[in-house]
Symmetry: C2
Subunit: 465 residues, 2 copies
Amino acid sequence: MLSPRTPSSVFVARRRALAERSPTPALLAAGLPPARQYRANTYPFRAKSHFLYLVGEHIPGAALLVTRDRQILFVEPEADGDALWHGPRPSFEELRAAHAVDEVRALADVDAVLRDLGAPVATLPTEDARSAAWLSARLVRVIPASSGDKLEAGSPDEALAEAMIGLRLRHDEAAIEQLRAAGQASARAHLAGMRATRPGGTEAEVAGVMIGSLRREGFEDAYGPIVTIHGEVLHNEHHHGTLAAGDLLLADVGGETPEGFAGDITRTWPVSGTFSPTQRAIYDVVLAAQRAAVAKVRPGVRYREVHETAKRIIVEGLCHLGIFRGEPSGLLERGAAAIFFPHGIGHLIGLDVHDMEDLGDRAGYAPGRTRSKAFGDCYLRLDRDLEPGMAVTIEPGFYQVPAILRDARYVGAVGDDLRRDVLARYADVRGIRIEDDVLCTDGEPEVLTSLVPKDASEVEAAMRS
Amino acid sequence: MLSPRTPSSVFVARRRALAERSPTPALLAAGLPPARQYRANTYPFRAKSHFLYLVGEHIPGAALLVTRDRQILFVEPEADGDALWHGPRPSFEELRAAHAVDEVRALADVDAVLRDLGAPVATLPTEDARSAAWLSARLVRVIPASSGDKLEAGSPDEALAEAMIGLRLRHDEAAIEQLRAAGQASARAHLAGMRATRPGGTEAEVAGVMIGSLRREGFEDAYGPIVTIHGEVLHNEHHHGTLAAGDLLLADVGGETPEGFAGDITRTWPVSGTFSPTQRAIYDVVLAAQRAAVAKVRPGVRYREVHETAKRIIVEGLCHLGIFRGEPSGLLERGAAAIFFPHGIGHLIGLDVHDMEDLGDRAGYAPGRTRSKAFGDCYLRLDRDLEPGMAVTIEPGFYQVPAILRDARYVGAVGDDLRRDVLARYADVRGIRIEDDVLCTDGEPEVLTSLVPKDASEVEAAMRS
């Protein structure tokens, strides 16, 4: 296991900090593994992130109660026969010591404990229907199995959500160690993928090598891996394609530490081992945008500015190549960037690859800020002023998406200043994205995923290594 | 992709056969991918097996209506912007042609179509809460998100379940091709795992190589992979252990074809590359039981007899080694087999690794047969008379489970005839299981997973290869 283990004192500190920030006690459910087909064949269990943040272990069905003066972990007690199938389980006392909580109790005791508290208890929404039903019964009110941006204004749940965001936005040292481990394991997976790429091979082959690399180190996927020669299909989780020498392969693959922290890397490399001149020209535009955006990750910088920086450099680069005609500033105003870069520059990363997206835009958008209505910008998931301890992805791209390029709603304002005759020369560039995970510090940004090269020549060298 | 593609004519034939066997029309949901954390980060989508049996493709949210004269596939229509993120999607007409259904319609049309039918419509239970809610709304009755052994006697749903079991119990030629592909890919994963095993390595390393092998060929896991030096913990899906030279590694890993059919193989190999004499002695007992049980897979043989055969050979073998004292027949009557082999000899395999377990024991147990109350035998998942086209696993084992060996409920009846002094010499055998997937044919059983060796010397040779 190459991932560090967070000491229990860190979880104690996080739970205390939460108790101080939340006006009411909080009950958080770990969740249950969903069935794949029938009940006994489940997907791998992954506890909910708020629970993981405070406990650090995937305990199916467990719940944590945090009050100002007590931290109680509720678990399913060992049933008769459990030891037979699952081996010996730690006793409540062993669990109490390992997690440094005040008490470990049977799940069935929750109701009595809540009754004794006699105070309103807050919780956070969950996507897991069984957990939502369980929480609803415990708290005697409807906890919907749905997205958390619908929290009632002024409610204890909303206050708890804000308290949790206040903690998780700026990672503590232990969380940063986890993110480093996730970034490095993800980087090794990319190196393995680069080396396994060959003309005549398959997307599945490269994806298998990358997933295998993560699993060998004890990491799960942080999200559905994208490994595709059709980088222009942004949400492409199929691996059905065969690799031809002229293709670029786009891999967006990240691992998750055993404690649940995510890595998220995209690299794009030439199947042949060498970028064509046209591929390299566009690649270098995206890379310049990526480097400039990474350099902007500093305290006080508004993340939207990072996004705008990348857009500007992409449009300037495409002007330089002759794909756009005219002044970059005017082109940007007319929506030129989104034609080739139709998504946001990145997002928060932490225990979730889109950190705290279960709480809607509440985590990503500072109070008073809302999503832009403009195509492209409307997909920006983060618009806060950066602070030390925040971790974000930086992932500009260039894609030739037919559904954009033929739609006047997206290209109309740019008109003939999009020079399609020039663009036609770049037909061998369907999609490029370059993505790193970046920690905002007091000084220089720390790139958590720097183990894997991104300079075009270094990528080519890594493929040969 | 090394897995064959089932032609649409097969699905047409299956749908027609279902329509003939079900007294009412049937509406089956494909299901939706469950959220891992927040809604946009899901587990890989895997359609429900009944839907896959009739359609062969994982189409999230889709539903199939089968009536005597029409087969209609309902799908979510392309939303504005879909092409942007997901690439171009096939038109309804393309889908209709690809799946050879009579019509493809928008999901929103289901209610109108059902109204026009004017007849009761049957469905099958699902574990997916969102699908259950959707089906409940369509059929205007409660479809529980729960285990399917609770079907109301005499109901259309029960008749549909029986019709489906009637079809899926005996695999057609296309299903057998899928099972062969799953068996072979799973076997290659085991060979890769054997080669990757080394003292000082980790369970995760071997598991990663095996999972990577499956993914590289385009196969998913059919179930949570077990790769452990603690084979005596039967449900052990953690891969935290480090491999020492004296350990046996037990790997229960199987892949699933892109169309959803499962492979399920267990092999147990010595980390050092060579079985110790004690390990080999027990291994050979389990292997003899496995070979004898495989040989019994013939038409007309009751599966319980296959189970009894394995039990007998294990007890005879342990008598021979001196671990049991006395006559095997008397020991068997006193429950000796379950002390070391506490589970069933196997189960149906098909689209589910425990095929049709979503319908409870209805699929596994012939009408009038029920589970034994005896420890060990009570876990037998299948008690039908075998027929050509049935596929089953054959997976005897030997485990030293502390929770069994110290519990008078399990060992009391055998008393001192369990010779613990002799058993102590076999301390380096914690758990061994040997499992193949076997097709019942008109003649010799066909072992679908024979690519991976099981003879002890051949296993050792494979590790060196």
